[in-house]
Symmetry: C2
Subunit: 195 residues, 2 copies
DNA sequence: GTCTATATGAAGATAGAC
DNA sequence: GTCTATCTTCATATAGAC
């Protein structure tokens, strides 16, 4: 994979981000050096600075892209008729989207403290936007009396923690298919909100 | 806080661990240097090596002590009569124990990948022991038909993720007391297992 | 038990040649 | 756009004096 010299900006940029993604997820941002990323890409460390002003921006770009894609992908889902349908769609979407991107999800959660203050703010804003979408669904279901929820903010956090937790143990080709996991979690969420 | 010289092994050892705990929780194991820990304790970096053979052992000791205390504290709880009582006791214990130790909990989850292979195995064994206690409760409730649970292993992971998630947002003196949070989570867990 | 000093290596980032 | 070389700082860990 090592290259000698030449012009590869179209391809090298994405490869730098891909290498950083995998290495950050495996060893953690602080434990990964620019030299390690460069080795994975097949360039010298200095060359990385053609694609990122510094290591911090590399981390932020990964997290920002992930959160933005989360919001965009969800915005493209078909609309639903009832709060119950909306909650089911949210549950299944969350599990599916996150299970397809284990490295991004891991980094987005584990490396928050390694963001600069201003980058942290930006990522947090996106995360809160996503959480508010679930909270709105819960409030709609409370309003039309299809859910029995004592505190929608708290239930929002509980449901998201529960669903994101799937990533810590789910493996493709394991005992249960993703379809089965989705169904069982949806049953639990539905019962938890008293629907 | 800086000291010149003298004999302080009784007090310095715990202070080294306390400093490491706080710093690891705040900045992450890989981002914290032995010099930083020493500065916090008020000694020179070399002196730390009277209390730990290396940085890795410092991390392992913190995580191992935390997991051991989790199991010991739970073992001291009074016995329960029914699976429903046992599940309620587990839920309330988990929230309470973890909310009292936010730094230890954060490290125990975030720094697993920075453990050596053999230290990781030891910590993982303790964690699985704890998870199995919840799984046993769920199986007992399924057996006597007080719970409706499709898959006890999966529900174990879901409940633990949900409960541990409290630590990401709960703050003493916030909108809800810990008592209220406990009660609302217990309602959700009870409903989620169909009891 | 703690200090100072140091061995040894690696980190992030930049400069200038090609 | 990538290379080699380097600046500057910092890391873990150890040695030996007190």
């Amino acid at each position: 994979m090592a290259r000698t010299t030449g012009s590869h900006s179209d391809i090298t940029g994405p490869r730098v981000r891909a290498a950083a993604l995998t290495l950050f997820a495996q060893y953690g941002f602080a434990a990964v050096s620019m030299r390690q990323i460069a080795r994975e890409v097949g360039v010298q460390a200095g060359a990385l600075y053609n694609y990122t002003p510094d290591k911090q921006s590399l981390l932020f770009d990964l997290m920002n892209a992930h959160m933005s894609e989360l919001l965009e992908t969800r915005a493209d889902l078909p609309p639903t008729d009832t709060p119950l349908d909306a909650l089911e769609a949210f549950t299944r979407f969350h599990i599916r989207f996150h299970s397809e991107r284990p490295e991004e999800v891991f980094i987005a959660y584990m490396e928050l403290r390694n963001l600069s203050a201003e980058n942290f703010e930006k990522v947090e804003r996106l995360r809160r936007t996503y959480e508010n979408q679930l909270e709105d669904i819960l409030r709609a279901g409370i309003a039309n009396e299809s859910f029995k929820v004592a505190d929608p903010k708290l239930t929002t956090m509980a449901v998201i923690a529960m669903l994101t937790g799937v990533n810590t143990w789910f493996r493709q080709g394991g005992r249960l298919s993703l379809e089965e996991v989705e169904q069982i979690y949806w049953d639990m969420v539905r019962q938890a909100v008293g629907a």
